[in-house]
Amino acid sequence: MPTVSPLEMDDVPMGQLPPHIQLQRTRVFCASDAPTQTENIQYSGAYASMGVDNSFRLDDFVKNFRVEVVRLDEDDIEFDMIGIDAALANAFRRILIAEVPTMAIEKVLFANNTSVIPDEVLAHRLGLIPIKADPRLFEYMSENDTPNEKNTIVFKLHVQCKRGDPRITVKSDQLEWLPNGSEFQLVTDNSTSNSNSNSKPKTYTSFSRSQTSLPEFSEDSIALKHNDITIAKLGPGQEIELEAHAVKGVGKTHAKWSPVATAWYRMLPEVVLLENVEDEKAEELVKKCPVNVFDIEDVGEGKRRATVARPRACTLCRECIRGDDWENRVALRRVKNHFIFTIESSGALPPEVLFTEAVKVLESKCEQVISDLS
């Protein structure tokens, strides 16, 4: 960073920050020993002495904020969020991990389990299986609620390894969705069962109608995301018969409800060559970087110069500023208001929808704050 001597500065630098302070405001400096200037300057009057207003302006934000999708496939999305504060970007990340709801198996009813894997562990494994069901179509089930078609998805698993057969692996595709709710009958006293013998026998759920008959669930809307997750292994003669009830929840309670494998961002890397790096030095620099950030270009007269070709690829291994005086030639920086956001969906919702859901959650939180304050 070129430091400007105070003597050379303008007398009254009105309306504009000196370049080095502007750099400090907008960049994280990744030196070889430690990163500096990592914090955002929040205080509105931080640069008041220089006549610069540092307050947050909504119209500025609206004008400058940009989202550019870099990559989008079934489960992953990578997009750039430009012109936003770290606190807000982080809020989205946190909400994605912990507060966007999904459906996950919460209750497992065992009818039989003679496998080597204990009930609790099996239940835990089942809980972590991602379910492809739109959580927006379901309601939360509170403690006093009875499980019904609006808050519960029921799966059945009944596998048996016959005696004499080789060992089998139970995969998640053997979990079968029961749109009509639980098939296990509730043990009731004889007196009550006699009185309404004609009506449907009581089960562990009270579905008023089949979930397939509801308009929002089309034929294939509820399924498991992956069909090849190993649930258990069965030896000859072993059997598992169970029913799994999935309910709506958030990742804060248990990681199984987290809709993302992970969601994170990184700040846009900026690699700056502080001086011309030429010839052998240039080649050395190109060779140093494991992710090929640098390229060599001909500047004529047989001279070759290193250029920064792909700064985005930088993983901050700091190889290029290691040793000798390389730190004087190359500067690694991060742009503070440019976030490369990645969401890896676990399958309940497509990643782009997850983000909008996260925004909605944040919105409702803000509304909550406003309504609480007023």
Binding site: V28, C30, A34, P35, T36, T38, E39, N40, A86, A87, A89, N90, A91, R93, R94, I97, A98, F110, N113, V116, P118, D119, E120, V121, H124, L128, G251, K252, H254, A255, K256, S258, T262, A263, W264, Y265, R266, M267, P290, V291, T315, L316, C317, R318, E319, R322, R334, K336, T342, E344
Partner: protein, 905 residues
């Protein structure tokens, strides 16, 4: 000198010749010779008579001893009992004594010649076979004498009706019972050999796989543990490669309890006869043929065989090489050792049991006998270790013989004088220390701590762990194989029966709940199964049979009524059903036992229900724990009673205060559990499983842990398990840090292993690069759930009426004498009063002011009465601790009268 004379060497000259003619020896011997003259001892007879006066007389006497004198019998049978004496032929014993004397005087003159008693070569390990054979010998002889006694009794009888059948008199089961008793109690009481040893047997530890293996390599000392000596506890240079330098407990047994190294072999007894004759045919001159003078002739070496003097040999090196060649050819046992001691001019041949030895590659003039093609054959599987041994490529050397060898650490370091090459340097460590990656980069006590801690780690016990009925079993739900392995791990099988998980660790400070080695854990990791464990406990119920042919019975549970709720988990057979959740106070066996257990009943099966009383057993577990009946086993115990065992399983996720440790002796408790979104994350979205405070490093100096982190990180990114065997860098059994770092750089990580991290709370980058990567973490068996304890008011001891002690009895927390002293010093008298009396055992007593003794309260008269004065005139009511009242009464029962003198307070 007198003893020499008593053994028949009457000439002083011969004695001196036998010992050696060095004038210095003569000078040392002079006082003894002088004493002989003063005491008038010249002949064997005189010597024996002189000794006879020194022998302690017993009041009773044996016939044979009387005849020849006790002194002679002691000299013959007790003195140097290992040298056999045939027909009072004492010469071998004399030579032995002479050699002993020579050594003694050598030691007096020259301090260097003193033998080191801690030298491993001078030690023998006692094996189970030897112990059992001693016990068996004793029992067999006892049985024989019993048989003899009873047959004698029978034969003495004048009128015998039947023919003598010796098998009738064999007392049954003497040997079986004797062996069983000794093995089950561990008390080895063999009177014949004056042996009284306790704790000879131990129940093998089944806490974890490593605990089991580690336990089986353990060597227990015969020293007293309480003695404060440093010698036997210190690390002996001679235990190199034989005994693990790391694996020893801390505390009183430190350095005394040892563990075998990885390749150590403990010898068993080899037959002596053929070896002795072989020695003679190889040119050992018999002792009998040698005069005293010849014994110590220069250039001739004494040949000692298992502690006996066999003779002497003029070409010691020649003889030793000949024997070694025979051993390599497999003609004599591979564990026979030949050791030429130049200093003592002796050749030691040992074939006895209990020596520790280890295999080494033989080298000829510095060139290894194991060639490339041998190793290829080994890899293909044509050749095994035993083939190497049989072909004379590898041989076992014991500690003594190692002194005759020049052992090169690596093939490349061999010089022409080298005779052997180490197989692998990491084998100097034992099983427990072998699990540590890069132990040679750690401070040595850290490795010792890990050796103790590895045994407490939860994981797999054995392949049959789910079929076992252990009384207490800790299992990890998702055990993993360490990312950073060692060769020992592969050899032992720890990669298949691991006890830990690879956790991504960030070395940074976080939240303040990580001080004093505490670790911060990621809640999402725990949700996903990190550190989850299963604890199973065994409950046993016995369906007892009684002397009057009645027996307990197990009946159908009541489905309605008072106990129905507690009997929910019972099946119709009255036993808890597997898979049921069992809560505290639940009945797990609905058993009844007959009221009448002594008087015989004519129809034991048809007893009425009224003849039984309930003998249900209830589960007493901690509240809030949801335990499950895992399995129910019906067996029979040793008295043929039906024995029902219930295995209660509880799955636990890590909680605050559970103990974890890495493989470098760095233990810590879980300080706090934090949501994943609050956790820091890296540029690649990696979020650590746990955070460790960097203050754990400077004082502990566990560099190995840092290298493990680097190696683990490189391993994950390049997809190859990295190695960290001890001293393995030169031989390629451990990856070098430079190479690891290069791998890291290749995959876009920092050379130093430090990542650019964003705070999960503020969202901005941290102002430091964070050292982050996977480290293998063990969950130790100490868990808060088993230890936490608090009580308000609760049960009291019947005798003193004070609160009970200990967690298992829901006891109170003691305000001890030191705490009391503090309160006294502070002057908090009311607090002392409250703690020591009001909250403990307050008791109201009636004290007679006249006699000072305790009275009683008469409820009819509603007044206190003094039982001594027989009236209630001077009674005062006061409070004192019940324990105090108890003391007064106990004193009174001993005829001591404690009188209370009351004054106005």
């Amino acid at each position: 000198m007198v003893i020499m004379k008593a053994m028949g060497i009457e000439s002083d000259q011969e004695v001196v010749q036998m010992i050696g003619r060095d004038p210095r020896y003569g000078a040392l011997l002079l006082p003894s010779i002088q004493e002989c003259v003063e005491e008038n001892v010249y002949t064997q007879q005189q010597a024996l008579e002189y000794l006879e006066t020194k022998v302690k007389r017993f009041s009773f006497s044996y016939g044979s001893v009387e005849k020849e004198g006790r002194a002679l019998s002691i000299i013959r049978d007790v003195f140097l009992a290992n040298v056999l004496v045939h027909d009072l032929h004492f010469r071998p014993k004399c030579i032995y004594v002479a050699v002993i004397l020579r050594r003694m005087m050598e030691a007096v003159l020259n301090k260097d010649a003193i033998d080191d008693k801690d030298y491993v070569g001078n030690k023998r390990l006692e094996l189970s076979g030897q112990m059992i054979s001693l016990l068996f010998e004793d029992l067999f002889k006892t049985m024989n004498s019993e048989v003899k006694k009873s047959t004698d009794n029978l034969l003495e009888k004048s009128s015998r009706s039947s023919k003598l059948d010796i098998s009738q008199h064999l007392a049954r089961d003497i040997i079986t019972h004797g062996l069983e008793r000794a093995i089950s109690t561990g008390n080895w009481d063999v009177k014949r050999f004056k042996m009284h040893r306790k704790g000879m047997t131990q129940v093998v530890l089944r806490l974890s796989f490593i605990a089991t293996v580690g336990h089986m390599t353990r060597i227990l000392p015969q020293f007293e543990k309480s003695r404060k000596v440093s010698g036997p506890r210190a690390l002996q240079p001679s235990q190199w490669g034989m005994l693990c330098p790391c694996d020893t407990p801390e505390g009183e047994a430190c350095g005394l309890v040892k563990n075998l190294s990885l390749m150590t072999h403990v010898t068993t007894d080899d037959e002596e006869g053929p070896l002795i004759s072989l020695c003679h045919s190889l040119g050992v001159e018999d002792l009998e043929l040698l005069s005293g003078e010849e014994l110590h002739a220069p250039n001739s070496f004494l040949v000692m065989f298992n502690g006996l003097i066999l003779g002497k040999h003029r070409k010691p090196q020649h003889f030793a090489t000949a024997l070694r060649k025979l051993r390599r050819a497999g003609i004599i046992g591979e564990f026979v050792s030949v050791f030429v001691n130049e200093k003592q001019k002796c050749i030691y041949i040992a074939s006895d049991g209990g020596r520790v030895c280890r295999p080494l590659v033989i080298a000829d003039k510095g060139i290894s006998r194991v060639k490339e093609h041998h190793m290829k054959e080994l890899k293909v599987g044509i050749r095994t270790f035993n083939d190497f041994l049989r072909d004379g490529l590898i041989e076992y050397l014991d500690v003594n013989e190692q002194n005759n060898a020049l052992i090169a650490l690596y093939e490349g370091e061999a010089v022409p004088e080298t005779t052997h090459i180490e197989i692998e340097p990491f084998t100097i460590l034992g099983v427990c220390a072998g699990l540590i990656p890069f132990p040679h980069h750690n401070q040595s006590p850290r490795n010792t701590y890990q050796c103790a801690m590895g045994k407490q780690a939860m994981g797999n016990i054995a392949y049959n762990q789910l079929c076992r009925m252990d009384s207490l079993l800790y299992l990890l739900v998702y055990p993993q194989r360490p990312l950073l392995t060692t060769r020992t791990i592969e050899l032992v099988g720890y990669d298949k029966l691991g006890a830990g998980q690879n956790a991504t660790v960030a070395v940074m400070s976080y939240s303040g709940y990580d001080i004093e080695d505490a670790i911060v854990m990621n809640k999402s990791s725990l949700d996903r199964g990190f550190g989850r464990c299963i604890v199973t406990k065994k409950l046993t119920a016995i369906n007892q049979k009684y002397a009057n042919n009645t027996m307990d019975r197990i009946i159908r549970p009541q489905r309605v009524g008072r106990d129905a709720e507690r009997m929910q988990i019972l099946d119709d057979d009255g036993l808890a059903a597997p898979g049921e959740i069992i809560r505290p106070y639940d009945i797990y066996i609905n058993k009844q036992s007959p009221i009448n257990k002594e008087i015989s009943v004519h129809s034991p099966a048809g007893l009425p229900d009224s003849a039984y009383k309930s003998a249900i057993q209830t589960y007493k577990g901690p509240r809030g724990e949801t335990a499950v009946v895992d399995r129910v086993a019906l067996t029979s115990d040793k008295d043929n009673n039906l024995c029902i065992k219930f295995l209660i399983r509880h799955t636990r996720r890590p909680e605050l205060g559970d103990k974890f440790s890495s493989r470098h002796g760095q233990k810590g408790v879980c300080g706090t559990i934090i949501q994943q979104e609050d956790f820091p994350f890296s540029e690649r979205g990696i979020c650590p499983d746990l955070i460790m405070n960097p203050h754990g490093f400077p004082s502990r100096m566990t560099i190995g842990k840092m290298i493990e982190l680097l190696g683990g990180k490189a391993g994950v990114s390049c997809g190859r398990f990295h190695y960290g065997s001890a001293f393995g860098e030169p031989s390629g059994h451990a990856d070098r840090v430079e190479v690891i770092s290069e791998t890291l750089v290749k995959h876009g990580f920092s050379y130093s292993g430090k990542d650019f991290i964003y705070s999960g709370i503020t969202g901005s980058p941290l102002q430091a690069y964070i050292f982050m990567g996977p480290i293998y973490y063990q969950k130790l068996k100490h868990m808060v759930l088993d230890k936490m304890h608090a009580r308000a008011s609760g049960p009291r001891v019947m005798l003193t009426r004070q609160p009970t002690e200990g967690r298992s009895r829901d006891g109170g927390l003691r305000l001890g004498e030191m705490e009391r002293d503090c309160l006294i010093a502070y002057g908090a008298s009311m607090l002392i009063y409250e703690r020591l009396m009001v909250s403990s055992d307050p008791f109201e007593v009636q004290v007679c002011r006249a006699c000072g003794l305790l009275g009683y309260y008469n409820y009819k008269l509603k007044a206190g009465i003094c039982s001594t004065c027989k009236n209630g005139d001077n009674i005062s009511t006061m409070k004192l601790p019940y324990a105090c009242k108890l003391l007064f009464q106990e004193l009174q029962s001993m005829n001591i009268v404690p009188r209370l003198k009351l004054a106005e307070a």
